[in-house]
């Protein structure tokens, strides 16, 4: 017993947990208590539609309760919950396998950034719209010439007096062809050094001059797009934070993105097998043990690692509520996504030739998914800051190692 939480608060949390449990029990439709396939998700937006009536009902009830964004203030459509309470809601939802009623970058990334950096008008204009699922957001950070070296970005926004004029292009804009708005990093001072001349801008994708085309990946999917800006007029009030100070907004957002990516494994929308489960279907057992000693060892390594990662997620949460400073959050994206890649490779090995089918007859859907997810897993250690960039950040900010002269 170490967490310095007072006992009366603990009792209140127990009461809160039981209230949450009975509310969920009464309000979450039975059909919304199973893992989701991609076509059962609701991402909101002008063109978004509910995959089913139950999904709509579940979304509306959660929205009215404020639990689409449990930690956001009630004034903006959130639930006004403390981190401890929000964690209880998440745990209880997980306990009954309740689906997330709404997914999206607005909810996960832009919202938290606006709460920290947005002005009152921007919060009023966007937060409730996000919670209500009215608008779907995508992110415009990387450019064809600016990947890991994000601060070298060239997409520019010129000050035209009453508006900005945006020209350039953004790449890896996830599902941009289905999104309504984009939050972008743009260069507002071409003379300033690197991150100093960058601003954070919100752009309506219906504005004239914007076009988007999808990019096919090695997995065969086209989740990512490239988005082009050709003399796009953006109102001045869409600037978040100060002019030329967009980098700090982006950094705060990246923390959310990395946390999200480190957690994605435990929250995969697909019904993907764990190595342990796959072993039972695809490997021989002898005397209660996997007969293939090499694979048994690899599966054990993976399970041990995932348990260590899960415990570290838990520890970072405890440290957050106890206000203990710790380097742990900075390593989570690196270890989480590397573990996901290890898992994909391991699943292929367990499935043997059934793990390398691509499409069509002769394979189950789960087998084909395994192959596709393996191909997709490569993006995980690249998107949101490559593993190498993550290690650079730890070397600089945690270990405070001397920096190479150029950087």
């Amino acid at each position: 017993m170490t967490a310095p939480v007072r006992s009366d608060i603990l009792e209140d949390l127990d009461q809160f947990r039981s209230d949450v449990r009975s509310w969920l029990e009464q309000n979450c439709p039975e059909s919304q208590r199973q893992p989701m396939t991609p076509d059962q998700q609701y991402w909101g937006g002008r063109r978004g539609s509910f995959p089913s009536d139950d999904a709509r009902l579940w979304f509306e009830r959660m929205r009215d309760r404020g639990w689409i964004a449990p930690e956001w203030p009630e004034a903006y459509g959130g639930g006004g919950l403390s981190p401890q309470q929000a964690k209880i809601v998440a745990e209880e939802m997980k306990g009954i396998n309740a689906r997330k009623p709404l997914l999206g970058l607005g909810l996960w990334m832009l919202g938290p950034a606006l709460l920290e950096y947005g002005n009152e008008e921007q919060k009023q204009q966007h937060l409730r719209a996000i919670v209500n699922g009215e608008l779907r957001w995508c992110q415009g950070y990387s450019e064809p010439g600016s990947g890991s070296d994000l601060a070298s970005l060239q997409c520019k926004a010129e000050d035209m007096g009453d508006h900005f004029l945006v020209n350039g292009s953004k790449i890896w804009t996830t599902k941009a062809d289905e999104c309504d708005w984009i939050f972008c990093l743009v260069r507002t001072d071409p003379d300033a050094k690197k991150q100093k001349g960058i601003s954070f801008l919100l752009i309506d994708m219906d504005d004239p001059g914007i076009s988007t085309s999808p990019i096919e990946l090695i997995s065969g999917e086209s989740e990512f797009c490239q988005t082009f800006f050709d003399n796009v007029k953006v109102p001045k009030e869409n600037l978040v934070g100060e002019l030329n100070k967009g980098w700090s907004v982006a950094k705060a957002l990246l923390v959310h993105e990395r946390k999200l990516m480190s957690e994605i494994g435990s929250d995969s929308p697909r019904q993907i097998l764990t190595p342990n489960e796959a072993a039972r279907q695809y490997l021989e057992f002898k005397d209660g043990k996997i007969a293939d000693a090499e694979l048994r060892g690899r599966i054990t390594d993976y399970d041990m690692r995932m348990q260590a990662v899960a415990l570290t997620h838990f520890r970072t949460f405890e440290e957050k509520i106890n206000k203990v400073r710790s380097p742990a959050p900075l390593i989570m994206k690196y270890v989480g996504t590397e573990a996901e890649k290890t898992k994909s490779e391991l699943l292929l090995a367990i499935l043997g030739s059934r793990g390398v089918g691509w499409e069509g007859e002769g394979f189950t859907e789960a087998e084909l998914d395994t192959t596709r997810l393996w191909a997709m897993s490569y993006a995980m250690t690249i998107a949101g800051g490559t593993s190498e960039v993550q290690l650079n950040v730890v070397a600089k900010n945690v270990l405070e190692l001397p920096q190479h002269k150029e950087s």
Binding site: G297, A308, R315, S326, P327, L399, L401, H404
Partner: protein
Amino acid sequence: MSLVLNEEQRLLRDSANSFLHDSAPVAALRKLRDEADPLGYTPELWRQMAEMGWASIILPEAYGGMDFGFIGLGVVLEESGRTLSASPLFATAVIGASALVLAGSEQQKETILPAIGAGELTLALALEETHHHRPNQISTTATPQDDGYLINGSKCFVLDGHSADKLIVVARTSGEHDDTHGISLFILDRDAAGIQVQRTIMADSRNAANITFDNVKVDADALLGACDEGWATLEPLLDRGRVAIAAEMMGYALECFERTSDYLKEREQFGALIGSFQALQHRAAHMQAELELSRSVIMEALTAVDESPEQLPQMASLAKANLNELVKLVTNEAVQMHGGIGVTDELEIGFFLKRARVAMQIFGDTGFHKDRYATLNGY
């Protein structure tokens, strides 16, 4: 579950840290080694540790103990790992004390536990019989005779085996060579007739011994726990030991890592601090990531001892396997990143490297614990 230290535990850590740096730094271990000290630790140091309550840290208050739990113990062990302090802390205050707490009769507890807590009595667990940890493979026999037992067999890698006042002997009272049923524990004086002790000099300069038992006669009340049912004590006892040694190993890893990252900030080559080279930065940052994972594992494993015994077998195997691999990685990298000076006896990194290799063998190597973890998970 709690993975963050509270105020009391932080104070304990800070006081342990400053005491050990003053009274038992790595230089003290070097001195014991260079002088071929016959005992292998300093009795005065153990007396001071006992005075601070470390010998009784996990003992119940009813027996004069501190009842600080394993989280408190882990804090002290981690600090003693940072300084590689040689003392009976592990063999006596963790293993000996836990064996008595888990299986001792009321009379055994009343006579032995206060003496342990006062630093007046030391113990050693005589378990291993081969060069790999196989706790159920026991050939040493205890045969009923008159009103007691006759013990015959030989043991190896007995930590503190040449210095302890009493031995806890794992012997077979029935069953086949590898049956868990039929194992019994006995507690007896180390200088009982028929016991021969051979001190072994290990790479880490710490204490271990080979011990043979030749018709050693013990009374019936030497039995610790029920006859034939020793496995029920031995398994949780070993799990406590695994978690405790893992906590100590965390100390080696942290100390080695911190010394190495300091070195990266002061050593110049090619006109630059070597810590500015990305090849080294990434390896150092990777170690930081591994340290963070191990920290969570250790905290959870220590908590499991105190709060969720049903989780303990899996957590103990996770912790021991995880820390085995961590100290291997960190000590190897520490030597390599120090370069030429890293392979000299003058630099203390070598002491950590050698201690890590011995600790990796204590109560199960990585292979043993991976196999056990997989078995516990049904594959």
